[in-house]
Symmetry: C2
Subunit: 284 residues, 2 copies
């Protein structure tokens, strides 16, 4: 498996290469978070900072930052949020944008090599995003959807992944800087959704060998016992080839550590035991 290295002011994070699972914290995202929306509208970044600190404490090694919501000017707010985050945490950022200009503004202020979230297999998206990825030397998340939407067949998602990697290469972006997202939908709506995604992840891993992210929270939408469902799905996704899932670390960090331990990526169970002790309040 390839190794993707990203950074923030000299602090590097390696993804893949049989190393531990790297959690991307998903919580700096206005969807369903009224308090965050209100604070951003008021130009107040305190909630952003708070969500950053708590996610890092809970095990996030990268933070996704998204400020897209009605009434928020992404072009103004995103670069300010990126600055605020760089001031309080050392983890690299995954810059999650709607508009190209907002992305450009955020990349201008970022110090290091972030992840751009995201490009799709659509021509419009490839041509808008990849030149910036190349210009700023970032990594990029490639979503396996195109002009026809999200394919129902695992094989077609793999084809889109291959297309994104190939197109990135033509722009001078190495394959290891493309992180594929095979997209997880909700099993409550489609009973085959989980199986399909896991199959796509497995094939991307086998045939393309790039790093992969996946949102591991949608899968359980509308169902009871969501935390366990998300933990089980995340374990399976990691086994299949996901190396940097996008998650709420407070909910699934221990399951990811358990998965790493079982998959031989945690020597002497050091990380697993340290996490347990920290959560029990045991001094090391």
């Amino acid at each position: 498996m390839m190794k993707t290295v990203i950074s923030k002011e000299g602090h590097e994070v390696s993804i893949g290469d049989n190393g531990p699972t790297v959690l991307i914290g998903e919580r700096i995202n206005p969807t369903g978070r009224k308090r965050l929306v209100e604070s951003l509208k008021a130009g107040d970044l305190s909630v952003v900072r708070e969500l950053a600190l708590s996610q890092v404490k809970d095990g996030a090694a990268i933070l996704d930052v998204n400020v897209v919501a009605p009434g928020i000017n992404e072009r103004d707010v995103l670069p300010r949020a990126v600055e605020a985050l760089m001031a309080v945490v050392d983890v690299p950022l995954c810059i999650d944008v709607n508009h190209r200009e907002a992305l450009k503004g955020a990349l201008e202020v970022y110090r290091g090599k972030p992840i751009v979230n995201s490009v799709t297999g659509e021509e419009k998206s490839l041509n808008a995003v990849l030149p910036l990825v190349r210009e700023y030397g970032t990594a990029v998340i490639g979503l396996t959807l195109d002009e026809k939407g999200i394919p129902k067949e695992a094989e077609k998602r793999v084809e889109i992944a291959a297309k994104i990697i190939e197109r990135a290469r033509s722009f001078g972006i190495p394959a290891e800087d493309v992180i594929i997202d095979c997209l997880s939908l909700t099993v409550g709506a489609d009973g085959q959704a989980g199986l399909l995604t896991l199959e796509a992840v497995r094939r991307v891993q086998e045939t393309l060998g790039v790093n992969q992210t996946l949102g591991a929270s949608n899968i359980s939408f509308g169902l009871p016992n969501r935390m366990l469902l998300n933990q089980v799905f995340l374990s399976m996704a990691i086994q299949a080839g996901v190396t940097c899932p996008t998650v709420n670390p407070a909910k699934v960090c221990t399951a990811a550590l358990a998965a790493d331990l079982i998959l031989g990526r945690d020597r002497f169970a050091m990380r697993f035991i340290k996490d347990y002790q920290a959560k029990q309040g045991i001094e090391l």
Copy 2:
């Protein structure tokens, strides 16, 4: 994937064939259960009955029965335990023995098609156990170890599995009546143990396609947070090809249901939701 059908007095249980995961309850086993040992020594089967009822309530569809302990005469006690179990529960049994004569006695009294636990790849074992499996028309668990012990390489475990299936066939036992156990050891002792077992399971599934069991409790021995580790390992094992794990159902039944739901084996999430409601005390 093949389908294995076992039974107890007309009550059939199907394993495999893309159906739901079938849990074999592991708790009727004297190892580490002093109260069970003492009761068996006194000729008292009340603890056996109690462990049967609680495991079925917790989601076991098959019960393993093992009475091997110092001071217990397996030849006398095993057939009595089998009779006692048949009187209180309708689930088929997995008869777990040390001595051929004890097995013969248990098979004589059993009404239906049980699982014999177990045969190994050792010549002595194959020649002692398979004729009884053939004579009584049972299914059998094949452990992937031989005269040299448990192989350190996944590929060798698969070779032993293939040998057991082939030898069973030569005795007139169909492949679908052989359930392979790739054997899980403790990740606390060997960090690669989990990965190795999962790799063996995946290859057995791909190349032999038979049903598989696996003890999913040993993996976490000596580590903290055992329940989560066992749940994560079980999820991965089910994903890799285990169809009838041997477990404590009280600890992992919900994780197995979550795995089935994610893998598209639980239409409309009926089983997952029903389990949730039952545990919340919600009337259906």
